[in-house]
């Protein structure tokens, strides 16, 4: 149904290295939905870790590499709201400014791509578990994937809409519906105490709902919460939304 | 000193951005209430004030007379024609004021506040230093929002004016609400 759509798959570095299953689920899901997906082989990182630490002036090499990899695609899709937001807001290449500009406007986070571009109405997926949804800040407040509790605006949520298409899933919302998990890039090591406390509180909020899984659109938040869950030997697991939307058992 | 003024203004002039226009504030976009009296009453009660509907202002005379005869220090500013009453001049004397009766200007439905100014309070300290404050307002003066209130007030050419919304309060100790911080411990509004 979407056979003419050339999609460049953007798999952020830490997903590539530590969470290949998220990349696999994303690729399979997009292909299932009829997209022609290629994975540019020389991609590394969007440069966000450096830029958010104040070093956007040294990450020009990352930007250049990103542009080389993703020049020419109609759509660039990645399973990470945070990395996508960074590309959208900050990607620059002095040698190829128009290519960078084109990429900034054609890069999508997975759930917004599924709903806004592919206009997905139904999914052949099932995930019979109790799941807590973590609203990742950059996806939510940066890409506006869902309404925000601070704002007076109509309620909506792209991730929730998609999860609602999954058979058997039981979604449970935490009491703080959109509070940060405390990852924050290098914040998690340079502000270790606050970061961990934020993560512990987030996890406890979900645990109070007796969930089996915590899901979200950003692996970084999930990785943070996973680290805390595992240390505390919790039975709760983290899982990226792509894995649920691609789950078929 | 004037040197600093010149220096600051010069620095500001050099630093300020290009002129940005003021917004048009369209009152059609602002909330409206079906029943202004009810809205005013609900909000004022929710912030610790009490509200009494009154047919006629003379109904208060008895209450004031009773207060006075009970030996309470009461000041009544309701009747502008009552002539000069002796208002003590020092804060020390006024700190014994148990009740002040005064007229209010514009009541605001959205937040339960009432505008009062120099003309209405005579002595600025009175509505703050009294233990109990009684304000009488006219039903027809109630406006919906602060936008309407300022429109009604027009050019404020009094020396001092204040919107009073309920009794004085604080939550500075563990966020526990306590009514009666430094100002009046109670506010009763009579709507005529």
């Amino acid at each position: 149904m979407h056979l003419d759509m050339k999609v460049g798959l953007f798999i952020p570095c830490y997903i590539d290295q530590f969470y290949p299953q998220v990349g696999i689920a994303t690729l399979q899901l997009l292909e299932k939905l009829g997209c022609e997906v290629s994975f540019p082989l020389n991609q590394t990182c969007c440069g966000q870790p450096m830029a958010n630490s104040g070093f956007s002036h040294v990450e020009g090499g990352c930007d250049k590499n990103f542009v080389s990899n993703f020049e020419g695609f109609d759509y660039i899709v990645g399973p990470s709201g945070s990395c996508v937001l960074h590309v959208k807001d900050h990607l620059h290449d002095d040698a190829r400014p128009s290519a960078a500009k084109k990429i900034r406007s054609s890069v999508y986070e997975l759930t917004e791509f599924l709903l806004d571009v592919l206009k997905v109405q139904q999914l052949n997926a099932s995930f019979p578990h109790k799941v807590g949804l973590h609203n990742s800040c950059h996806g939510q407040r940066g890409l506006h994937l869902s309404s925000m509790s601070e704002r007076v605006e109509p309620a909506f949520s792209k991730p929730e809409k998609l999860l609602g298409m999954v058979k058997g899933i039981e979604l449970r919302k935490p009491s703080h519906v959109d509070e940060c998990c405390g990852f924050g890039g290098t914040f998690c090591v340079f502000e270790e105490a606050v970061s961990v406390k934020m993560g512990k509180d987030r996890v406890a909020d979900h645990a109070a709902n007796d969930v089996d899984f915590i899901t979200g659109v950003d692996v970084s938040c999930l990785m943070h919460m996973e680290g805390i869950l595992k240390r505390n030997k919790s039975r709760i697991k983290t899982i990226h939304i792509a894995e649920i939307l691609n789950a078929n058992n | 000193m004037s040197n600093s003024k010149a220096q600051i203004l010069k620095a500001v002039a050099a630093s300020k951005p290009a002129l940005v226009a003021l917004p048009e504030i369209d009152l059609n976009e602002v909330i409206s209430y079906d029943d202004l009296v009810q809205q005013f009453r609900t909000v004022l009660e929710s912030i610790g004030g009490s509200v009494v509907m009154l047919e006629n202002i003379s109904q208060l005379d008895e209450e004031i007379a009773a207060e006075k005869s009970a030996g309470n220090f009461v000041i009544n500013l309701l009747d502008a024609n009552a002539g000069e009453q002796a208002i003590p001049s020092t804060p020390a004397e006024l700190s014994k004021l148990s009740k002040l009766y005064m007229n209010g200007g514009v009541p605001v439905a959205e937040n339960g506040s009432i505008w009062v100014d120099d003309q209405l309070m005579k002595v600025r300290l009175l509505p703050f230093i009294c233990e109990q404050l009684v304000i009488v307002v006219k039903k027809e003066n109630i406006v919906a929002t602060m936008h309407h209130a300022y429109a009604r007030l027009g050019k404020i050419d009094t020396g001092f004016g204040v919107f009073i919304a309920g009794p004085s309060k604080t939550a500075d100790i563990e966020q526990s609400l306590v009514i009666g911080a430094h100002g009046a411990k109670g506010l009763c509004v009579y709507i005529v």
Partner: protein, 456 residues
């Protein structure tokens, strides 16, 4: 001087206290939400407030002049202070000239910024803070930990002990009602005797020369109307053009701050009462410099509601003192580097850039974007640790080179699988309280290539 990370760690070491602080401020945030949602025009109101402030800043010199002219015509004496020292000298001068000694002060973040109390104390002048929360911390010789809720770091038992010591209240009586009543009696005497009342300013209206001061307790009014001299201290950015604009700001201020529809008292001071002196002190202290920074100037729109404090997941868990400055929280983290980039180079990093602060801001300051921009300035000017600098440069080097990236990724995962103690140790701040992710044998790219081969 300890930085935000170290000060936070100390605060969090008392976890029940941290939880209480977090939950209490979250409750204030919820009250703010409820209040905001009661007005369908809320977002419009924020937009109007933002535009009025943008306009005011873009014409600030004109409005400052107009404000002074009007105030002088109203019988007010206007003073100008280029910096904190001059501000403090002006206040001292007024006190000395009139040979006065009994001074009360209501809340003013500007005087905190200028360290007025300390300055006057060094000159032998005692100032009594009359806001209940400020009085509590003043007794304890502490600064306020929050600009709206100055004693939010304290429990009622702490206040009880302090009042027992200073006001001779019953030992162990922790009832807020009782403690507040004791403070009321104590401060009533101070008001009645006061000769000088110092206040801050929430808004200064150019067209009328009025200053507006908002309190819930009534302490500003009690002081000003009792004392013979009123000194109102304001930053140059407090100016708004017209009286009618107050409607926009008074509708936003208390709703954003505490969820109240308006503060109990919104007092408009135009003219001194007969026999009273009224002084306005207009202070720059770095503001005109900030105004000249296009990326950061709109931080001057702030109306000090502290909504960004209450929503900030970091502030709620690190406490006001972790910001080591008078105006803490997210707004403090973008204001202070403009005044002293070196001393406050840690603050823009005391955030996950979650963006909640910008969303609650009633004047729509793009706080989290400015935090990001300050980080760039700070790194460029070299105010970051050597370790951070080297690691960032190292990362940038590797990530710009796909081959080296792949090699290091593979090597790193191999080390984590086979020599985990090299990573899982106390030198790794992640590992202190969190497990590292399980390193897979195959990266996504490895899988992809293998999968492509199998397909063909």
């Amino acid at each position: 001087m300890k930085n935000h990370a170290a000060l936070s760690e100390a605060f969090i070491s008392n976890e029940p206290r941290t939880d209480w602080h977090n939950e209490t401020l979250w409750f204030v945030r919820q009250k703010r939400d409820k209040s905001a949602h009661s007005l369908p025009e809320w977002e419009k109101l924020r937009e109007w407030a933002s535009q009025i402030k943008n306009h005011s800043l873009s014409n600030l010199d004109f409005y400052l002049n107009q404000f002074e002219e009007q105030a002088v015509a109203n019988g007010v004496k206007v003073h100008w202070a280029a910096n904190a020292e001059e501000h403090n000298q002006i206040v001292l001068g007024i006190i000395r000239e009139n040979k006065l000694s009994r001074i009360v002060k209501s809340k003013s973040m500007l005087t905190e910024e200028c360290h007025l109390n300390h300055f006057l104390q060094d000159q032998g002048v005692e100032v009594v803070d009359t806001d209940l929360g400020e009085r509590i911390v003043q007794f304890r010789k502490e600064p306020p930990s929050h600009i709206v809720l100055p004693a939010i770091h304290l429990k009622k038992s702490d206040v009880s002990e302090t009042f027992h010591e200073h006001l001779q209240t019953e030992k162990g009586n922790n009832d807020p009602q009782y403690l507040t009543a004791a403070a009321r009696v104590h401060l009533r005497n101070k008001f009645v005797e006061s000769e000088v009342a110092i206040t801050g300013v929430n808004f200064a209206v150019a067209e009328s020369g009025a200053v507006v001061v908002c309190t819930n307790e009534g302490n500003a009014d009690m002081g000003v109307h009792a004392a013979g001299i009123h000194i109102a201290c304001m930053g140059i950015e407090k100016i708004i053009p017209k009286t009618k604009h107050l409607a926009v700001f008074l509708r936003l201020l208390a709703r954003s701050a505490t969820g109240q529809p308006i503060t109990t008292y919104s007092s408009h001071f135009m003219k001194p009462r007969p026999g009273q002196q009224m002084h306005f002190v207009i202070v720059d202290n770095g503001r005109s410099k900030q105004l000249g920074l296009p990326d950061f100037r709109n931080s001057l729109k702030c109306i000090r509601c502290a909504a960004c404090f209450n929503t900030c997941p970091v502030f709620r868990r690190s406490g006001g003192y972790s910001y080591h400055t008078a105006v803490a929280g997210p707004i403090g983290s973008i204001l202070n580097p403009g005044f002293d980039i070196k001393a406050y180079s840690d603050l823009p990093f005391a955030s996950t850039l979650c963006g909640s602060c910008s969303n609650v801001c009633p004047v729509k300051i793009n706080i989290h974007e400015q935090l990001w921009k300050w980080r760039q300035e700070i790194a460029k000017q070299g105010h970051v640790s050597f370790i951070k600098k080297v690691s960032m440069q190292g990362m940038a080097f590797v990530l710009a080179r796909p081959g080296i990236y792949r090699f290091s990724g593979k090597a790193g995962r191999w080390v984590m699988r086979n020599l985990p103690f090299l990573v899982n140790n106390k030198l790794n701040p992640w590992y202190k309280q969190r497990e590292m992710p399980a390193p897979p044998k195959q990266s996504f790219r490895d899988w992809y290539l293998q999968n492509q081969q199998e397909k063909n």
